[in-house]
Symmetry: C2
Subunit: 118 residues, 2 copies
Amino acid sequence: MKHIHFLNVEPHLVEGQDVKGVTMRVGITDSDGAPHFAMRLFQVQPNGYTPLHRHPWEHEVFVISGSGQLNYNDEEHSLQKGDFVLIEADALHQFKNIGPDEFQFICVIPHQSLLGKH
Amino acid sequence: MKHIHFLNVEPHLVEGQDVKGVTMRVGITDSDGAPHFAMRLFQVQPNGYTPLHRHPWEHEVFVISGSGQLNYNDEEHSLQKGDFVLIEADALHQFKNIGPDEFQFICVIPHQSLLGKH
């Protein structure tokens, strides 16, 4: 069992050339005993963005607060509090904060050991 | 890709003798193309509660709004907005709304086909 408020989870600044103003907090992961997937909270500052990238695993996202834009392959989607988003494996994707407040979302990913086991 | 606001996801009233005032919305699941896990939003009305039960799969939870209590085996935990909770497989658990407002949380579960594959 693990129970922790997100503000007590260590923040990691996401670094790289193609990222700005993004903090990740890994709330639940394999080292906590989670057998299948990890749950992370992302906080994106105004005008911040995650890398435009792709990878062979999915994201399941729920928007907690703020206003964002998701670039997904050749599409743009506006995101708001209360949205669910499934980002499929290998899709090109990027999140941007397009509002005045912090943009927060939960993002769940499978453990690497599960890939291909479905 | 799936993108939907939770209010546009069909609500299911959770029924049973040991449950009160609980609605589940399944935002992302296998029929959407999610390969490993399902993401659901639970809405618990004031004085409502989920069943006290156990099952051989885990929950990964993030609290969206309201005030709750988690009964977990022989323990009681107060829950608030912004809390992560890992409920391990086979743990006895129940969520209660102990506040005046709706208690909302995200709850992610593995597909049944994954159980034992880790």
